[in-house]
Symmetry: C2
Subunit: 224 residues, 2 copies
């Protein structure tokens, strides 16, 4: 990180998309100023930094805003390519595969998880749960292919896909405790279950992931 | 393009997402084998190349598949960085901005356009039309900022955002003819209207964009 580089993250602690950015910053070893937003009364800085969506997370690098969690993670990796480990491979095909799975997590897993745990009807919840397990099964196959037996979607160290999925862990674990549903089942998805243990023990993850009990308490107050 | 490089595109001519890949290949000056799929009877190659979504487009580069149009466009630019013009800037912040707007086009403009022209009720159509014009208005602002008066979202030449938006042009023009709604209005969004003219006249665009009349005929046979 160059002297004088200034990183400011506008977020809310419980947002998985904000956690995603914190994970990327943490794994890259970058220090930043954390600005906790009140979504009921958004700051002028947030509104002027992300006038299109008016949403967190926004990363300000020397005052320049970057929005959208997956875009921010890639930005962090590219703008600080000389700092810490790379989150994306130098190989274009491996980068394409990582971007594909990062999109899959957002478009399939998150959508199914939300349906499973916040639908109004049992039928919708049941369909969401089914789709969530189908997505996890697909990700088990992706982990088998991407990790090449080295433990992470990024190979021997964490990458964009690990950060994308890892950002959901506190919420997925909270949902599992709350519902009694074993989401990461060592029988159904053994590689993924082992990945969860391995990822959660990383210093970079511990520094960025919120405590599961805190998420459970937060989830009780607010609808998921 | 290195000797022996083999590019094969699995697609259907009318798909805007396939057109997107064709535009990228065309602007980069890359030759490829076009494989027209029958979506009612998908080829074994398509099913094995994109087992997750089973959708076009898929680009096969020396037999290795890449899926998802925006992922493919970035792959083409990175894997053939020494060939033709760059579709993404070398500056990380400009790349982040381009990825942000590419996502905006897919998440907002396409969703609104589909609602405007293929909803079942007049109320839904009207709401879709309203949101489509709001998205176009936002893109007018983006073009003003990104182009810096040089004509394209990518500055003085086309980039990822031009390709993303440009891939919709034949369909947007067909929708305008079919509905009588002026989508690119020189009064409401003058920069965008001028961009449409400029983009459509590029050799790279002419080679990749399907004829509007053909899209209109196709649209009459199939629901949008």
């Amino acid at each position: 990180m160059a002297a004088g580089d200034d990183l400011k993250l506008l977020g809310v602690w419980a947002s998985a998309f904000v956690i995603r950015v914190k994970l990327a910053l943490s794994f890259k070893g970058l220090s930043f100023e954390n600005v906790e937003e009140d979504l009921g009364n958004k700051s002028k800085l947030l509104l002027s930094s992300n006038p299109v969506h008016k949403k967190v997370p926004v990363l300000l690098h020397n005052g320049k805003p970057i929005c959208d969690s997956v875009v921010i993670v890639q930005y962090i990796d590219e703008a600080f390519s000389g700092t810490g480990p790379s989150l994306l491979s130098s190989d274009p095909h491996e980068r394409a595969i990582a971007r594909f799975w990062a999109a899959y997590i957002d478009d399939k897993l998150i959508v199914a998880w939300r349906q499973a745990f916040s639908s109004m009807t049992e039928e919708d919840k049941s369909e969401g749960t089914k789709q969530m397990f189908a997505a996890l099964d697909t990700l088990e196959g992706a982990l088998r292919e991407c990790s090449k037996g080295q433990g992470y979607f990024g190979g021997e160290s964490v990458g964009l896909v690990d950060v994308s999925l890892g950002s959901l862990l506190s919420w997925l674990k909270a949902s599992a405790v709350h519902s009694g549903i074993k989401i990461f089942d060592p029988i159904k998805t053994p590689l993924l279950a082992a990945w969860v243990e391995r990822f959660s023990e990383l210093d970079g993850a511990k520094a960025a992931l919120p405590d599961v009990d805190r998420v459970i308490e937060f989830g009780k107050m607010k609808l998921l």
